[in-house]
């Protein structure tokens, strides 16, 4: 296992009222190296919180996150990198300076980190845009920069927090294919949060369906289908059907609460 999630829970305290809100409850899960794991659930089910806890950006209220491979000395220091939904690019840095940010703060020599950034920019098909500022790029291009920046630290696990949710459907399709290509090329573990059932079925090698608040694991489903996948395919439609009712239930519960 590359990652073990053990009984993770998260309780938020709402400052104004002093009330407690249980965002996550006893989530346990093992992630194998090279998986494309999907967390699927309605908005507000705590899946983004779980991702932030895995990234070490939030502390869990209960349970723990373990990286057994790193404990065995398999890591290079940085284990996870996050791709955020709103890109989170530094507006004052050009594309190449954004991509090189991680290596820069880790004191990689300038020449080496720029050469590496250049390679990654080519990997995400942004050659020619190295010296643009983020506001000069389209949403899809920005998300590619964010992906290249996350890859620059050479993490073992990439965390995606609804990275394509803000994009139009056509751009989303193109980027879904590119994500699959990069996942296959790099052999890294992808953990991907989405509320889209279709996206989950197109991308995931395993889908973890979450319940609405508090977020718990409702169901784990292997998707052993070959890629490229098509939503109209029989096997795909079968999996969509099996998840659809469950997800609808959770969306209704999320709306009711």
């Amino acid at each position: 296992m590359i990652l073990e999630v053990r009984g993770v829970g998260k309780v938020w305290t709402i400052e104004r009222t002093g009330e407690h809100h249980v965002a996550l409850e006893s989530v346990s899960l093992d992630v194998a190296p090279g998986e494309f794991l999907i967390f699927l659930g309605p908005s507000g089910c705590g899946k983004s919180t779980l991702l932030q806890i895995i990234a070490g950006l939030e502390a869990p209220s209960a349970g723990e996150i373990r990286f057994p491979a790193a404990a065995a000395g398999g890591g290079n220091g940085k284990l996870t990198s996050m791709v955020f939904q709103d890109y989170a690019l530094f507006p004052w840095r050009t594309v190449i300076a954004n991509v090189a940010f991680g290596p820069e703060v880790r004191h990689m020599p300038r020449g080496a980190r720029l050469a590496q950034a250049q390679r990654l920019i080519e990997l995400v098909n942004l050659k020619g845009f190295e010296h643009r500022y983020p506001h000069e790029l389209s949403g899809g291009m920005r998300q590619r920069v964010a992906l290249a920046r996350a890859l620059a630290n050479d993490p073992q696990i990439l965390l995606f927090d609804e990275p394509l949710a803000a994009l139009d459907s056509q751009t989303r399709r193109v980027l879904q294919d590119e994500l699959l290509r990069i996942w296959a090329e790099t052999g890294k573990t992808f953990i991907y949060v989405t509320h889209s059932l279709q996206e989950a079925v197109l991308l995931g090698s395993r889908i973890v369906l979450m319940t609405a608040s508090p977020g718990r694991v409702k169901r784990v489903l292997d998707v052993p289908l070959p890629r490229p996948r098509h939503l109209t395919g029989r096997a795909e439609a079968d999996i969509l059907d099996r998840l659809d009712a469950d997800l609808s239930d959770e969306v209704k519960r999320a709306l009711a609460s």
Binding site: A55, L57, A88, F90, G102, Y133, R149
Partner: protein
């Protein structure tokens, strides 16, 4: 030349021409409104004699020193207050108390403390600039998208690196806003502090002329102050383009 340019140039030229004619035909008294050409002539005279350049240099020295000290203190305190909660808590009551005071009202105090020389004037200007820069810098730090801070942490930045590589550039556009407002404030304050207790400077030159009812020289002072204001705005805009090339500007 577009239509807009023509209208603007025409507006200025026509008004100046009408003004000049009204004075020359004796319909306006030179005592109240000296003709543009005679103001220009006086300006040239005072420039050749060295009187005007000297006054400008004396005032610029006070303005620049006050501006630099005030701006540096404002930026440093503003970044710290914006980034570190306890520093903000410690500074906040003082900012709230001193910010609304017209800084010219502090000049008598500074005269008492620092004497009649340049220091009291520089201190007044510095305090005026400091608060404008401080308040805008804090706003700049607070306006930084929190996800950017998370992304920096996620990519491995240390606390110091977050400060220098995220908070400082993130606040920079607002810092420049503070600097522009501060430059205007510095010119106002240098005039006020040069009315009294000095024998040199552009404010002194203007105020002395008024007391002698030398209206031409009053106009020379007013126009020179205007030119300094325009020059400082241009300089700061140029620095801002250099320092914040990513900021989208209209027009």
């Amino acid at each position: 030349m577009t239509r807009t340019h023509l209208r603007k140039a025409g507006s200025v030229l026509l008004l100046l021409l009408a003004w000049q004619l009204l004075v020359q035909t004796g319909r306006l008294s030179e005592l109240f409104l000296p003709a543009p050409l005679s103001v220009l002539a006086r300006m040239w005279e005072m420039t050749r004699s060295g009187e005007l350049p000297w006054a400008v240099l004396v005032s610029l020295n006070r303005v620049l020193q006050g501006f630099v000290y005030g701006a540096l203190a404002g930026i440093v305190l503003g970044l710290l207050a914006g980034a570190v909660k306890w520093i903000e808590d410690v500074l906040d009551p003082w900012v709230a108390a001193v910010y609304p005071i017209p800084k010219s009202a502090l000049f008598p105090l500074f005269l008492l403390w620092f004497g009649l020389g340049d220091q009291s004037k520089i201190a007044t200007i510095a305090v005026g600039v400091l608060f404008l820069v401080l308040v805008n810098t804090v706003t700049g730090v607070k306006s930084i998208n929190p996800t950017l801070l998370k992304a920096a942490v996620d990519l491995g930045a240390s606390r110091l690196q977050i400060f220098t590589k995220v908070i400082l550039p993130g606040a920079l556009p607002n810092i420049f806003t503070g600097l522009r407002l501060g430059a205007g404030m510095a010119l106002i304050l240098v005039f006020i502090t040069e009315i009294e207790a000095t024998k040199a400077g552009l404010g002194f030159l203007l105020w002395e002329a008024f007391q002698l009812l030398d209206t031409k020289q009053v106009f020379v002072g007013v126009v020179t102050f205007g030119m300094l204001g325009v020059a400082s705005t241009w300089l700061l805009q140029w620095l801002e383009r250099l320092g914040c090339p990513w900021v989208q500007r209209s027009n």
